[in-house]
Amino acid sequence: MSAIKTRCLLCLVVAISVPSGAVVAQDGAAVELMRAMASATERLNYDGMFIYQREAQIDSMRIVHKYSNGLERERLISLSGPEREVVRDGARVTCLFADDREVMVEKTEPRNFLALGISEPIGNLVKSYSFNIVGHDRIAGRPTSLVSILPKQPNRYGYQLWIDEEFKLLLKSVILNRSGQLLEQVQFVQIQIDHEIPDHLLATKIEGSEFTWHINDAADNSASKVVETSGWSVKWLPTGFYMRNHKVQSMSETNMPVSHMVYSDGLAMVSIFVEQLAESAEPLQGYSSMGAVNAFSRVSNAHQITVVGEIPLPTVRQIASSVEYH
C-alpha cells in the first residue's frame, strides 16, 4: 500500500507540474472513466463480497446485482453481525432484519442515473475538484485504475475510486477528510462480473413468515399537505453546490410534512430539512456523525432545521447556521 501511496504522490506532483491543459485532459479522462463506472454499476451482472469500514467498525457483506429487460434487481446481504438483507427489485425495496424479526417494504424512487451528479458537466466538476488517474492497483484479484478526486476547497471531502479496468465496475472506494484520514471504505475482496445470475440468488433466505411486516407501497402522499417553507432560504453553501431536488415529504414518526432541499456539487450531497415544530415536540439540537455523514440541527422561528451531508461537520454546521426565515 505504501508503494501505491508513493505512486499517488508522484503522480500528484507530476499533475501539478505539468501545463494546465494537460491537467484538464487528465480531469477529462478520469471523469469519463467515472461515467463508464456509473453505467457499469447499473447495467452489469455481478456477485461479490466486500468489506465496509467506517472508523474502527468493519462489516462484511455480499451483493448480487442483475440487470435484465431494463430492470435492476439487487440483493445486499450482511455476512457479519446481525442477519440482515436489503432486496431491491426495481423501485420496490425490502429490508429484512432477522435480529428484530421485522420486514419492511417500501416503494422508492427508482434510481435515475441520468440524474446522477456524475453527469454534471466537467466544467462544473473541475471547479470544485481535481480528478486524476493516479495509478493502477489490484483489488479482488482484478486490475483496477485508481482515480483520485481532491477537493479544491477544505469544505468538502476527497475520494479515491478503484475502477475495474475491464468492466469499469467500482471495486473499492474511500472517502478521506482533508488530513487524508479515512472516513469510509468499501472494498470488494471477491467478485464475479458479467456472469449469469440465477434468480434464486436474488431471493432472500431469511424466513420472514413469522416476522412483523411493515408495508408502504403507496407513493409519497405528503406532497399535498401544506407546509410553509417558502419563507426559508439558505444563505450560504460551499461554492459549486446547486439545488438538485426540493420536495415536501412526510416525517415517518409524526406524519408531519417536512421540506427537503437537496444540494450537490456533482459529487458530494447535502440535505436540508425544515420542519415546523409542534408545540409538544422536543427539538433536536446539536450534531451527530457516522463515517463521512455529518448532521447538525438547530431550532429557528419554531422550526426544526437539520442539515445532513457527506461533507465535513463544520461545513454542515455552517450551512445549518445560514438557514433563515425572512
Binding site: 456509473a38 467498525q57 467500482l170 414518526e253 417536512v258 454546521r317
Partner: protein, 192 residues
C-alpha cells in the same frame, strides 16, 4: 573484525595469551578502545542475562541532552472520546433508519407492534469540546455559526434524526458518486 577488537573480545572472555597482553597494553590508552571495551562488556552482560535495569549515568545524560535538542513538534490533537460519542449516535440512528427507510409512519394496521424502537437509551448525542469546532479554519467567517448546544438525547429526537438520515440516503442513491451503494450504510450499522 580488526585485530585489536579481536584481542579485546578475547580478553573480555578471559581467552587471551601473553602476546595479547602486550597488544592490550598498547591499545589501553586509546579512547576508541575504551569505548569498545565498554561495548563488549555490555554485549557480554546481555548474552549472560546479567544486564542491570538501570541505564548508565552517561546514557541518561546523553538522552536528556538529545531530548532538549529536539525541536518541538506540534501534532494534531487526537480526537477525544467525547467526539466519538456522536459517532455512535448517528450509527444507532442508521440502524433505526434501516427500518425507517421502509416507512415507519405507515405501519400495516394488523401489526401489533410499533415499527421499531431500537435506540439504546444509553446512547446519547454528546457535544465535543468547543475548540474542536471553533478552531477549524474551514468555517467561513462571513456568517457566525449557530451556538453549540448539547444534542438532545431523547428518544423522540433520535427518531427524528433517523427520519432525516433515511431521506438523505434515499436521495444519495441518485445523486453523487454512483457505485457506492447507499444501503451499505443501512445494513452495516454498529451493534454497540
Amino acid at each position: 573484525m580488526h585485530i585489536e577488537q579481536e584481542v579485546l573480545s578475547a580478553a573480555i572472555d578471559g581467552d587471551h595469551d601473553a602476546a595479547s597482553d602486550q597488544v592490550l597494553q598498547g591499545i589501553a590508552g586509546q579512547e576508541i578502545t575504551r569505548d569498545c571495551w565498554a561495548r563488549y562488556h555490555l554485549i557480554g552482560d546481555v548474552l549472560r542475562d546479567g544486564l542491570v535495569d538501570v541505564a548508565s549515568k552517561d546514557f541518561s545524560q546523553r538522552l536528556r541532552t538529545q531530548i532538549n535538542d529536539e525541536p518541538t513538534i506540534v501534532s494534531p490533537r487526537k480526537r477525544s472520546s467525547s467526539y466519538r460519542r456522536p459517532l455512535a449516535g448517528l450509527a444507532i440512528a442508521a440502524s433505526v433508519a434501516a427500518i425507517a427507510i421502509i416507512g415507519v409512519g405507515r405501519i400495516a394496521p394488523e401489526s401489533p407492534t410499533p415499527a421499531r424502537i431500537a435506540v439504546s437509551p444509553d446512547i446519547t448525542l454528546a457535544t465535543p469540546a468547543q475548540p474542536q469546532f471553533v478552531a477549524r479554519p474551514e468555517i467561513p467567517p462571513a456568517i457566525s455559526p449557530a451556538p453549540l448546544v448539547e444534542a438532545t438525547p431523547a428518544l423522540y429526537s433520535q427518531r427524528r434524526l433517523n427520519g432525516y438520515l433515511v431521506k438523505f440516503n434515499e436521495q444519495r442513491s441518485s445523486v453523487g458518486i454512483p457505485g457506492v451503494n447507499p444501503y451499505v450504510r443501512i445494513v452495516g450499522f454498529e451493534t454497540e
